[in-house]
Amino acid sequence: MADYLPWLFVIGAALAVIAALGSLWLSLSLAFSDELVGGARAQLTTDARRGLLTEKENLLQEIRDIAFEHDAGKLSDADYEEINAKLRAQARHVLHELDIGAGPFRDEAEALIAERLSDEG
């Protein structure tokens, strides 16, 4: 092992140098290219939606946990009803926001479908 190990390190270092140079070249070529501008902007627009989806998942989790704690006897019926109502109201609000946010996408999709259908007669 002691005989081979230095060579392993040398080969590893050589491969890492190649990887570093390759990555750097890619980085520089991408930095001076404008092709990705549109794609990157489109990616950003989906982030707001992702935030709402995250919030929805958290609220669902919370509703489920509250129900679990109620079933396990940690929450009284009255407290459970009150908290559950609040959480569901928040979740409905988030679903509503998601629907509003999906509006332009839906309109665009519907327009594309209509266009395609009219093209096909």
Binding site: A40, I63, R64
Partner: protein, 864 residues
């Protein structure tokens, strides 16, 4: 071997790291400032920088293997006789190399974090990359201008190296530093995510979710790293303990305390969108403490058994810490309006409030440790007097706080989120409290007979009222600790049972209910298992109250009695390898009937490169009930007469068992997060994909295998070492208390008290002190004359008067103020009540439609 100027090439690579990290940071900042097309470029720049760091570490590793003693670092930390594996561990054996190692681990984290971020959190990505690159940049500057691991000798190149410190030539050194560093460095990723969230103003739950997995990874590594450090200390330093409250240990413990507080507190934000400012502060503080701890130990400002040499890298850290503080304060002020809580605490009897109390204790402990660790420095600056804060101080104050924390670990799961009614809480607490009280009663009745009395001999660290109170608190601590451990175990067990019962009511069998319960709530139940691991560790810590210690001189064939054991000294023997001479003394453990119960072979190693520094290799026979810890102090080659110190350490194995349970629980808690996040990216893909959780599990398996291997090695060799060669004899509690307050002044082991230090100087001093006690001199007078002779730093614990009192008064005052603040704030929040968010979906039919969709989503969640 290729003819290459390694030192020059290594330094060149460090320069390239600096340039590449700066370039990537600039590109990433550009991407974050309205030029998103630069993001892929920043990502590839990150990969290039990480690859360059890999080149640097491989070049240094190569230099060690080929003994390139032109490089100062290689010459100082290796020699030609060292086997290849210690040449690899030498990479992190000294200051300069460990900084490169640190950068290497950081680049590893950065690589995986940036790969993981692809297609996720696009707005945060540029700033995450920029922050991680800025940290790497700092380390590159540090290496290039202050601690270059490729620096060469100006004049002659030595023919052989100085060799690695013998204490570091131990299998734990192959595991402990990398794992601990993984814990330290790991906090950089959540910190970078936090900075990104603050810069972009996206301070909702998004960053919390993004940072969750990474903070769990860092916390797990830090926890296991700390435990491996305990193992190294226990086996390698040979003083009989596993935690000495050394500044280096404290430097790792402080971020762990704050990180633990963050992991609990952030749950409140996730659930209730509260405590946003507090969580931001805790995460920043955790990262800051990793840097501060590194500064403390690397600058040489504070004396420690494993600190690095005094160097000028401290000033770089000071500037960096100042930059971090100013930048964080500016970001905080800028983003304060966005950190407003969406909800408030509805009741003081709630999970939220229990977590606040948990944070209060953890932060209180951190303040205690911080003040005690830096007190010698503060004392030197303020009044020009050097003092020492020894383990006795920490043990006395930390034990009660630790028990309160343990109690909260059992209480938290019993309390519901938002608000729990008093009657329901009492009903939930009845069983765990009953179990705790039953254990306390049983221990009070039978404990003394079994060797585990509820109350132990009180020892005072001060001759004041405070000293008396602390002594009594520590005297009853074992009983309270065991009862609290039982309470927490019962609480966790009850949680599992209650969860199972809910599922069983739906028709599932007990086994299926348990499996489904855990698999659908891995984070929650993983957390409970972590609590069980902590309880096991507390059982191990409590065992220290029942240590029995004895020292004897024996000839071959003679025996000594200790506890329920008889130990027979058989013979000495010597072995050699190219690196060292090894002198062992074979000993046999006998049970009460005289039958053989095991073999141990404590010894001494004399390294070729450090003959003046013989290491004492302890032998440990470990069982769940107790460890038999044998130290060979001296052996006379002509008469074969040996001096042995044997310590019976009850329950210590539970600390390591607890560590494994903690690791299992943490992995369980992390696992769903990885899958969940993966699914978020590609919902329908079922094929195996790499995730950070996979990496963590892989690494954990490697660590567990290495621990198991090391355990086997330990059983085979029973070896570890100490710097000391004398013996410790303590006749009565008065002696123990006094010796515990006086520090050895031999020069080699200045931080060890006389009740522990086994060097010749300490032995002579004990004889002298014993004679003075026999002559009727008061212990207080002896202590004062010791202080007058050797200075205030020769006392293990500063006095309980004047400025010294600040050592405990400041943290206690801070904790009192904090708890008052928490209660007042909680009450105010409670009075204000909570305004439900307005729902725009007010129409009844629309409400019904959304409720139907919600129910469908909940069913999907249940089935997933």
């Amino acid at each position: 071997m290729p003819a290459l100027d390694i030192p020059f090439f290594g330094t060149l690579v460090l320069c390239l790291i600096l340039i590449s990290a700066s370039y990537t940071m600039a590109v990433a900042m550009g991407a974050g400032q309205g030029r998103p097309h630069l993001l892929p470029s920043a990502r590839w720049g990150t990969y290039a920088t990480c690859a360059l760091v890999l080149v640097a570490i491989l070049v240094l590793a190569y230099a060690f293997q080929v003994h390139d003693f032109r490089i100062r670092y290689v010459a100082r930390y290796s020699d030609r006789s060292m086997p290849w594996w210690y040449l690899v561990t030498s990479l992190w054996g000294g200051q300069d190399g460990s900084l490169l190692w640190w950068s290497f681990l950081l680049s590893g984290y950065t690589f995986f974090a940036v790969r993981w971020l692809r297609g996720r959190y696009t707005e945060l990505q540029p700033w995450v990359i920029a922050t991680l690159m800025s940290i790497l940049l700092f380390f590159a500057i540090l290496m290039l201008f202050a601690a270059n691991p490729f620096a060469t000798y100006i004049r002659t190149t030595p023919g052989d190296g100085e060799g690695l410190n013998p204490l570091l030539q131990n299998y734990w050194m192959a595991i402990h530093p990398p794992v601990l560093y993984m814990g330290f460095v790991g906090w950089s990723v959540p910190f970078a995510i936090l900075v990104a969230a603050m810069v972009t103003g996206r301070l909702g739950n998004e960053w919390v979710r993004a940072a969750r997995l990474w903070s769990m990874i860092a916390w797990t590594f830090l926890s296991i790293g700390l435990l491996l450090g305990c193992l190294w200390s226990y086996e390698e330093l040979g003083w009989g303990g596993y935690w000495a409250w050394d500044p280096v240990e404290n430097a790792s413990f402080m971020p762990w305390l704050v990180g633990t507080a963050y992991l609990h507190s952030v749950l409140i934000q996730e659930r209730r969108q509260m405590m946003k400012v507090w969580n931001v502060f805790l995460l920043f503080l955790t990262f800051f403490l990793t840097i501060f701890g590194t500064f403390l130990t690397r600058s040489g400002l504070i004396a420690s058994v494993h600190s690095f040499a005094r160097s000028d890298i401290g000033q770089y850290f000071v500037w960096y810490m100042a930059f971090l503080l100013i930048a964080f304060a500016a970001l905080m002020i800028w983003r304060l309006p966005k950190l407003k809580a969406d909800n408030e605490i509805e009741s003081l009897v709630s999970r939220e409030f229990a977590f606040l109390l948990n944070n209060w204790v953890l932060l209180g402990m951190m303040v205690f440790v911080l003040i005690a660790t830096t007190f010698p420095l503060l004392s030197q600056w303020v009044r020009g007097e050097e003092v020492t804060v020894g383990p006795g101080f920490y043990n006395k104050w930390m034990v009660p706080l630790g028990i309160v924390l343990l109690f909260l670990a059992g209480l938290g799961p019993l309390v519901a989120w938002r608000k729990a009614t008093g009657s329901k809480l009492l009903r939930a607490m009845a069983f765990p409290i009953g179990v705790g009280l039953a254990v306390a009663l049983l221990q009070a009745l039978f404990g003394a007979r079994l060797g585990y009395p509820s109350v132990v001999e009180p020892t005072e660290i001060y001759d004041t009222g405070t000293g008396t109170v602390l002594a009594w608190m520590s005297a009853i601590a074992p009983g309270v600790s065991f009862a609290t451990c039982a309470f927490v175990l019962a609480s966790v067990g009850q949680e599992f049972w209650r969860g199972m019962r809910v599922r069983m009511r739906k028709g599932e069998g007990a086994g299926k209910a348990l499996v489904n319960l855990v698999s659908k709530g891995r984070r929650r139940y993983g957390g409970y298992i972590v609590h069980v691991g902590i309880v096991f560790m507390f059982i191990g810590f409590t065992g220290a109250a029942y240590d029995v210690e004895q020292e004897s001189a024996l000839r071959p064939g003679e025996t000594m009695d200790i506890g329920n054991h008889v130990v027979r000294y058989d013979q000495p023997r010597m072995e050699t390898d190219p690196n060292k001479r090894m002198i062992f003394t074979d000993m046999t453990l006998l049970d009460e009937s005289g039958n053989e119960d095991g073999q141990v072979a404590p010894g001494k190693f004399i390294y070729r490169t450090h003959p003046q520094m013989p290491t004492t290799e302890v032998a440990i026979r470990s069982r769940p009930a107790e460890d038999v810890y044998v130290i060979m102090s001296t052996v006379d080659p002509s008469t074969q007469r040996g001096t042995f110190r044997i310590i019976i350490r009850p329950l210590v194995a539970w600390i390591w068992i607890g560590g494994l349970v903690l690791l299992f629980g943490a992995l369980l808690g992390m696992w769903p997060t990885g899958r969940e996040l993966l699914r978020e990216e590609a919902p329908r893909i079922r094929r195996f994909r790499f995730s950070p959780a996979t990496a963590v599990v892989g690494l954990a398996i490697v660590i567990a295998t290495m621990i198991a291997w090391a355990g086997v090695a330990s059983a085979q060799n029973d070896s570890s070492s100490s710097l000391h060669a004398g013996s410790v004899v303590i006749n009565d509690p008065v002696e123990r208390q006094l010796f515990g307050r006086l520090l050895c002044q031999c020069g080699d082991c200045a931080r060890l008290p006389l009740d522990t230090c086994a060097c010749g100087w300490a032995d002579e001093k004990r004889i002298e002190v014993r004679e003075r006690l026999s002559a009727g001199e008061e212990p207080t007078r002896i202590q004062e004359s010791y202080r007058a002779q050797y200075g205030a730093a020769a006392l293990a614990i500063p006095s309980d008067e004047g400025l010294d009192r600040a050592l405990w008064a400041v943290p206690i005052a801070a904790m009192v103020v904090a708890i008052g603040f928490i209660v007042v704030l909680g009450r105010r929040w409670q009075r204000r009540g909570v305004a439900p968010r307005a729902s725009t979906a007010s129409d009844a039919s629309e409400k019904l439609e959304y409720d139907t969709r919600l129910d469908a989503e909940l069913d999907r969640l249940e089935e997933s």
